[in-house]
């Protein structure tokens, strides 16, 4: 394991440390002055409606998008400038990003294993295949798998390098309830067992309630909530996170209607 860079006081820096992050496309602020720091080993949900700025925030954490201003530090490194120093210590999973369709599951894991520099790759692939129930699928092309099987392959790929930081973009989207539950359990076991830090973007509030230690809620690029799911539910006086989400979304809609009526 490569050592974390200690902060000046000797303590390890937070795995994710975001300060006044802002991203403007033309004249639209997709992310507008967001700040937060994540604790090691915590699962943090990034919530918000469509266009709230979740994907842009995650993209800046991966270094795929350069902030207009502010800084996104991951594992102690400014991702806009030095992302390659830490990319091998993190990984990413999203149903909206595929691995090559024509390659078999084994070939895909082999290719990504080499890109990440995984030692004892054959053993690691065998272990991942067993862990994610992929052994019988190893020699089938990825493109011919079902949605649930593809998710299992993507997760196996995402955990192949034993990441300290895992970025998940709607990991259970379009999965049946049984497969989705299996995926959540798997993620929970990995994160708690490994002490990995997880950033989870999801529209599934039940999933967030089950997995997340903390919720960051974005609206129009701004942070409007940063607390535990329980605190958020209590503050809004609702029964669950789904109702909180709807209350926030409809508050905006009502506000828009009021504004329309006033004019």
């Amino acid at each position: 394991m490569q050592k974390m860079m200690p902060a000046s006081d000797g303590a390890l820096p937070p795995p994710v440390d975001v300060r006044e992050l802002r991203k403007v496309y033309r004249d639209i602020a997709a992310v507008d002055g967001v700040s937060f720091a994540l604790e090691r080993g915590a699962i943090t949900a990034l919530l918000g409606g469509n266009g709230a700025g979740k994907t842009t925030t995650i993209s800046m954490l991966m270094g795929l998008v350069v902030p207009t201003s502010g800084v996104a530090r991951v594992l102690g490194v400014d991702m806009a400038r030095e992302r390659h120093k830490v990319l091998h210590r993190m990984n990413f999973e999203s149903p909206y990003v595929d691995v090559p369709m024509r390659l078999t599951v084994r070939q895909n894991l082999e290719v990504f294993g080499r890109l990440y520099g995984v030692r004892d790759l054959k053993g690691r692939i065998a272990y991942a295949a067993d862990d994610f129930r992929l052994t019988d699928l190893l020699d089938r092309p990825y493109g011919k798998l079902s949605a649930g099987q593809k998710t299992r392959v993507s997760l196996a790929k995402a955990l192949l390098n034993d990441p300290e930081l895992l970025l998940l973009d709607e990991p259970t989207a379009s999965l049946d309830p049984d497969t989705a539950d299996w995926v959540r359990t798997k993620l929970e076991l990995y994160c708690r067992g490994r002490g990995a830090t997880v950033v989870l973007a999801s529209h599934n509030m039940a999933e967030v309630e089950r997995l997340a230690d903390r919720v960051l809620m974005l609206e129009k690029g701004r942070m409007i909530a940063d607390e535990t799911p329980e605190e958020l539910i209590k503050r809004f006086g609702r029964a669950n996170l789904e109702e909180v989400f709807l209350a926030i979304a409809r508050r905006d809609a009502d506000g828009a209607k009021d504004a329309g009526g006033a004019s």
Partner: protein
């Protein structure tokens, strides 16, 4: 049977990341990815060979016909066939480079690659290697066809062929860098640029005629392009039996400038894609 985690699984499973060997391992990993794609589909392999074969047949038969009817063509046996072969080296190598990159967008895999520890220079190295592999797959059958059907032995050009080949593939990589940079910045809307950019060089590089054929104002443009010297050199070898070394040196020097410019353009557009957010919208 339950598979046991690899020994020492609480330690990191990762090897060293910063050495030249680690870099070579990542490049090899990506070359494997493209090799598996080529290997998995015989229609793709056939597609690589199809057009160069058709071109060779057409120009080969044309040359055979002209040789019976025109004294110049009879004297210049192999001129058209050699030009077709060399032109296809430029085209196939550039397309091999660009299409390998487009595969990443078509398969929605670019996000995974860009998120992986693969460096941009390693991506370029892998694309160069893949362009060479695809070039060999495409051109070996064509060279054999030229030899057995039309009696043109490309290897008979000797050292000249090595110089022609090197100068053409370096130019193709420069074009590949620019075209993939454009696709990185503007997405699949600019895909046709990657397919077509090389063809502007067909008239300008004087593939089938001497530079003197061009109007005076266009000749400096032709002479600023490295492949022009290759095709002039080919005519020198075929028509006069003389390999003019200084033409290849000029081509090589120009190629160094073009390749450096290609790398700069690729790096600029990659950074521009990160600023404009197009890197995460690829394939959409």
């Amino acid at each position: 049977m339950t598979v046991q985690p690899p020994a020492g699984s609480h330690a990191s499973p990762l090897g060293e990341q910063t050495s030249l060997a680690a870099s070579a391992r990542r490049v090899y990993g990506l070359i494997l990815r493209y090799w598996y794609v080529i290997r998995s589909s015989w229609p793709r392999t056939a597609e690589l060979i199809y057009w160069p074969l058709v071109q060779m047949l057409m120009w080969g038969f044309l040359q055979s016909y002209l040789a019976q009817t025109a004294s110049f063509a009879a004297k210049a046996a192999g001129l058209f066939i050699g030009a077709v072969l060399l032109w296809d080296i430029l085209v196939r190598s550039q397309l091999g480079f660009a299409v390998a990159f487009l595969e990443e967008i078509w398969s929605r895999n670019l996000g995974h690659l860009m998120m992986s520890p693969l460096r941009p220079a390693e991506l370029v190295a892998a694309l160069i290697a893949v362009s060479l592999i695809k070039l060999l797959v495409a051109m070996v059958p064509v060279a054999l066809l030229a030899y057995f059907f039309f009696g043109f032995n490309v290897l008979g050009l000797g050292i000249a062929f090595a110089a022609f080949f090197a100068n053409l593939v370096i130019m193709s990589w420069s074009l590949g860098l620019v075209s993939t940079g454009v696709v990185l910045r503007w997405g699949l809307g600019a895909e046709s640029f990657a397919w077509l950019v090389v063809f502007v060089f067909l008239p300008l590089c004087c593939v089938y005629y001497p530079v003197a054929t061009l109007p005076g104002w266009l000749q400096p443009v032709a002479l600023a392009l490295p492949p022009t010297y290759v095709f002039e050199g080919l005519r020198g070898v075929v028509l006069e039996g003389a390999f003019v070394g200084h033409l290849m040196v000029k081509s090589f020097v120009l190629n160094l400038v073009y390749f450096a410019a290609g790398c700069a353009v690729f790096a600029y557009f990659l950074q521009s894609a990160r600023v404009n957010g197009t890197l995460v919208q690829m394939g959409e």
